[in-house]
Amino acid sequence: MDAVGILPLDVLGGVILLWLVLGLFGLVLQNTPHLISSIIFPLGAIAALVVAGTGLWALGAAPSIAVLPLGLPDLPLHLRLDPLAAFFLILLGGASFGVSLFSAGYFRSMAGGMLALLCLEYHLFLASMALILVADDAYMFMVAWESMALSSYFLVTTDHAIPDIRKAGFLYLLVAHVGAISILLCFGVMQGGHGIGAYTFAAMREAHLSPFWSSIAFLLALFGFGAKAGVLPLHVWLPEAYPAAPSPVAALLSGVLLKTAIYGILRITFDLLATQLWWWGVLALALGLITAVFGVMFAAVQGDMKRLLAYSSIENAGLLLVGIGLTVIFHVYGKDALAALSLTAALYHCLNHAFFKSLLFIGTGSILHATGERNMGRLGGLIRKMPWAAALMLVGVLSISGLPPFNGFVSEWLLLQAFLLSPGLPNSYINMLIPVAAAVIALAAALAAYVMVKFYGIIFLGQHREKALEQAHDAGIWERIGLTWLAIVCVVLGLAPVFVVQHLDQVTRMLLGHGLGNAAAGWLFLAPVDIERASYSPVIFLSAVLGVMLMTALGVHRFYHGRLRRGPAWNCGFPVQNARMQDTAEGFGQPIRRIFEPFFRIESELPSAFDTHPRYHGRSDDRIWFALYLPIKSLTEKLSSRASLLQHGRIHLYLTYTFATLVVLLAFV
């Protein structure tokens, strides 16, 4: 391939340009919206597929570098496509392929002008994410980063007529901006040498910082990227913004944008910073655990399906951070095999989350289309109205619950293996801490299953909670294609872990200088460290279960009979039963709320036994919002009211300021 002289980077650049062109072309087609949805978006999807292919190609190839004659003087835009970037490009391309196809159907009914703008912003968003991954200097990175924030902000506020959505957008962009500034500061710490040329990543790699300054850089990066990933306590924007955004956008936000934050942490921690310290890992680990448990806990009590998914995204971000923290710890203590294992787990989970979360989010999109309802309390029984969506989303649900043989389980398995192999670290505290961490991970995973059973059961199963659901229709053809693609990838990732892990080795080798490899010969068994220690084979597993099922089914029908009658539900003999007797979303979450009561800020009014019109109202809020953000807000307001006393309107006072300033300066020079 290289003989032809084309590098992966060239192809990628072409695709990014194509995306931009498509976006602008959308503006041109303003008056023919159907063309936008049925041509532009599919083309964008194909481009995304090309991106994924390029990533796959570049994963094995040597890093390719390019310099654009743009940017600041002395600091032209540097591009670099190395395995790490390539991996995330695969993720970006693969996920956005499905999402774009889905969008082709989803935005069908949108008004022309709005759709044109959205098309532009959408492709701008994709392009800027791709640019983030290949940026090789701080300026390029920041430009792409903030462009991503800006374009996604406009996407989130697509329905800006609704005040809540505006509020969500505001919160989103504000947190994003503060995070960006701290990333900026991080680059300021890491810059190597002097002059504007010092902001290339190459120069930063050369700059050997003192432990103190590299710690500062790491903390700033953790803050900045954590804000994007929704790490506690910077998560507040996330459950507001994801539901506000149109479902495909939410899918990209959660599926891909969140990963760019992970990419940033990895890039800075392992690539740009020469040395790591063990307590970074501990910090990341602790933060990740808290975030994971918090996220899943809140997901369990949500009534809005998109909010629920948003909180589950927070949980997964936590898990990813845990993986990274573990990697840092192992890496610092020179246990590179284990570091590779945990990093592989983290990357694998990135990939999985990108796909199943996008799948679920766009799934909610089709539900929204079919019913116009986001509140799970008004859904139910949709499996009979929209079998396609139901079947495909079941895959997503099983994957995200970490059940074998789907993909979620593989990364969970790898992560737990990493925990199990941890003993033998010189630091006994960490040795003690890690099993506890493993326990917490297990808890979070189990709770995730709870959440997902709630999610799927309330939405798709049972009886319709509203009459209107009778008219619900299944997902359209484009939407089906998108859903199917994502579901298929989920299954494949679940069944072919060996193949995936082998490719991930490129990344771990680049970052840690050590690959994981596969101890077991052949593709059948995944044995990360040693066939004696641990092995897992989803294929055998699946075939066994399926085989048994088939045998039983045949056997039963062969030896007995397949007779079947339909009748009313027995329901333990209770005569009357209607849809309102089923658990609502709140009801299903109630045990969690009760067990973890101290973590919520609960306000609920229960009807007394004698109410003639009993009504129940309950909401559980995030304590952090009230404990951290509102105080900051009020503090700022207090300060600014103090400051406004300066501007008092009296000219004498103003003259006195001048006078005082002068006298003070004169007195002190």
Binding site: G71, L72, Y139, F170, L185, S640, S644, T658, T661
Partner: protein
């Protein structure tokens, strides 16, 4: 040759002032105004070309001096003055249509506008520290009547404060100039050359440190009043909020820059004489204070023009901070920020002007849904706001990027303050502009179509500067940075 070009540059606005003083009440006064500004711009372009080709120049037996530092400001000033005149044509018509302005007022406006341009260009191009002072004072005098153009009590009050405060400030600057002269004459001897910057620059190491210290304090306090550094800023929000929008645009887009330019000229001398970071520290202090206080003020504003006036204070503070830090990168960033800030801020004021005219009030809670009533104005305002908030790929981001990273590298203690201040400022401005741009509206259409070419031209330029900087522009900046140290 250079003399002629300079003459063209300076005389065009002067002539324009004269003509408009005569014909100011004619129907075509606005066109004449734009025409003269256009000529001025052309002259500035010619001059710029020449300086780019042949490097620094002196003219009129050294009374004038053009180097990379002020030549880009000259070009910028002439350009923004030109676009502003284009914008003010329909804008002022609408004001007249609304009965806010009478023909005599417009008459005054046009002539003063030209004179104001003249004073600014004079202040930029002169080589004589004394003349700089004279020009700055003249700039105050020409604008003070523009600020009170509407004759409303509020505008009068604003103008009065502007006049008194800036007058006092300028007076203090004069004392600084005198001290400078006092120090200079002991080296350069009596007479005219003792205030020529070029000469002073050559002998700056011999100038008496103690005197220059005092002189710089006076100059900083004096011109700092015009820059709008906290706590000398008190006049600025009033003047910007109450004056006509074109005036606000040029005030915050240009006048502040020029005052800063004067301060920089004297900083060079002081640094040379003291050989330490005294001047820089003072400027950093004032800069940080301005950024923080302005950010705090921002979050309480109700009047849209007032808010952007405070944002000007914030950005001027940032630039002052950058210049105070010194060093090639920071100074470069400071000048870049000067440029993009004037472009973007004036663009914002244009958009704001139209928005205010459409909704008939400057109170932000009554301006809503600009995208609905006029997408161009809405997008202009939105993009301008994002640009001024330092969102890439606009140029403001480029300079803020350099400033913040350099600060982190050289003066880490200052970064938490900057972080907090920028965050607060972002929250304040963005939170107030979002509902103005989005949502439902009550605004109405206008008799005259808005002149939005200036807005988008400015934004486009800022965008280009963020993504690609022409080599010669970079060249100036570098030379200027070397000049300013």
């Amino acid at each position: 040759m250079i003399d002629l070009q300079l003459l063209a540059l300076l005389l065009t606005p002067l002539l324009g002032g004269g003509l408009l003083a005569v014909f100011g009440s004619r129907r075509w006064a606005a066109e004449l105004n734009s025409l003269m500004s256009g000529f001025t711009f052309l002259a500035s372009v010619a001059l710029t070309m020449r300086v780019v080709e042949q490097g620094p120049q002196v003219a009129f037996n050294e009374q004038f001096f053009i180097d990379p530092f002020n030549v880009f400001l000259v070009a910028l000033t002439a350009f923004v003055a030109f676009t502003t005149s284009l914008f003010s044509r329909p804008y002022m018509r609408v004001e007249q249509h609304h009965g806010k302005l009478s023909t005599p007022m417009l008459h005054l406006y046009y002539s003063m506008y030209q004179l104001f341009t003249f004073t600014m260009l004079l202040a930029l191009t002169t080589n004589n520290m004394g003349i700089i002072w004279v020009a700055m004072e003249a700039a105050t005098l020409t604008t003070v009547l523009l600020v009170s153009l509407y004759r409303t009590p509020a505008s009068l009050e604003a103008a009065w404060k502007y006049f008194i405060l800036c007058g006092v400030g300028i007076a203090l600057a004069l004392f600084g100039t005198i001290l400078l002269y006092f120090a200079a004459e002991r080296v350069l001897g009596q007479g005219g050359t003792a205030l020529l910057w070029t000469h002073l620059n050559q002998v700056k190491t011999d100038l008496e440190p103690t005197v220059l210290k005092l002189a710089f304090v006076f100059l900083l306090v004096g011109y700092g009043t015009k820059i709008g550094l906290v706590p000398l800023h008190s006049w600025l929000p009033d003047a910007h909020a109450e004056g006509p929008t074109p005036v606000s645009a040029v005030l915050s887009g240009l006048l502040l820059n020029i005052a800063l330019c004067a301060v920089m000229r004297s900083k060079v001398l002081v640094d040379g004489s003291l050989g330490n970071h005294f001047a820089g520290n003072l400027m950093m202090g004032f800069g940080l204070l301005s950024v923080v206080v302005a950010a705090l003020f921002l979050s309480r504003q109700k009047d849209i023009k007032r808010m952007f006036a405070y944002s000007s204070i914030e950005h001027m503070g940032l630039i002052t901070f950058a210049f105070g830090m010194g060093g090639a990168v920071a100074t470069f960033a400071g000048m870049l920020h000067m440029t993009v800030h004037s472009l973007v801020k004036s663009a914002i004021f244009f958009a704001v002007g139209h928005a205010v005219q459409k909704s008939g009030t400057q109170q932000m809670e009554h301006i809503r849904g600009m995208l609905q009533i006029s997408p161009t104005v809405g997008w202009g305002l939105a993009l301008g706001t994002f640009a001024i908030l330092g969102m890439p790929p606009f140029g403001v981001f480029a300079s803020e990027f350099l400033i913040i990273t350099t600060a982190m590298h050289s003066y880490p203690w200052s970064t938490p303050i900057l972080l907090a201040a920028l965050g607060i400022a972002f929250a304040a401005i963005f939170g107030k502009i979002q509902p103005i741009v989005f949502g439902e509206t009550t605004a109405r259409r206008l008799p005259h179509p808005p002149a939005l070419i200036p807005v988008f031209v400015h934004l486009l330029l800022a965008l280009i500067l963020g993504l690609y900087m022409p080599p010669y522009l970079a060249g100036w900046y570098r030379q200027a940075a070397a000049l300013l140290g």
